[in-house]
């Protein structure tokens, strides 16, 4: 499943991402402590977090995450949005919390 298909299926709003929307998503991860996530975020995962800052963008990019999904409608700050667009990193947002969205994601990805 691609990031774009995921966005459509889970009613996510796309905040950043162009070509990256066609990337495959092969798993998920959730966490907000950046060093913790840095050590564990799998490649091509959808990362569910409330951290919408530029450092989260750096972590996702360094770890080759498929996308960031901001849960609980957590805001993406302006610098982070600009950086995500520059790097072509997909950032999406959901009204659901990480638990609720994680359940849906697990159902989809199996």
């Amino acid at each position: 499943m691609t990031v774009k298909e995921l966005a459509e299926t889970l009613s996510l709003t796309v905040l950043a991402g162009k070509d990256s929307l066609n990337r495959p998503v092969t798993g998920g991860y959730t966490g907000d402590l950046l060093s913790w996530v840095m050590a564990r975020l799998p490649e091509n995962a959808a990362w569910l977090t409330v951290m919408g800052n530029i450092n989260a963008v750096a972590v996702a990019s360094l770890k080759d995450a498929a996308c960031i999904i901001l849960t609980d409608s957590a805001p993406l700050d302006e610098q982070a949005r600009d950086k995500a667009r520059e790097l072509d990193l997909a950032v999406l947002t959901s009204r659901k919390n990480s638990y609720e969205l994680g359940l849906k994601l697990a159902e989809l990805l199996g």
Partner: protein, 144 residues
Amino acid sequence: MNNTLSFDYVVPGDDFTRAGEASSDVKHKLKQIGYDPDAIRRVAIAMYEGEINMVIHAGGGKAHVEISPEKIEMVLADRGPGISDVDLAMREGYSTAPDKVRALGFGAGMGMSNMKKCSDTMEIHTKVGEGTTLRMTVLAKKKQ
């Protein structure tokens, strides 16, 4: 023939908007070279954590990276406060990050242990009041 490439970076202090730029650049270069993906992953983590530590604790610093076919060496040097108890700093979960930094998602106390796990060798030279130099090596072949 000398097959070593070297790069130098200045890591600005207290500028969280630029933290991670040096590690991103190194990762990008390694990808272009076609370096072993596992080594790239480990370098990216180790260097990012080192960079962040310099930004949080040391008012920035310098990074020197040497890439050869066998290994990647990273030297991160700062003139920050130094580390008074290295063993404690290495412990998972121990952090002296201030609250404003924690609010950004840092301060899990994982930085040093992430560096240790991702590198094949890691040396710390530190003196309180003078600064810290961290030397890490990642071998192109996986750790056995």
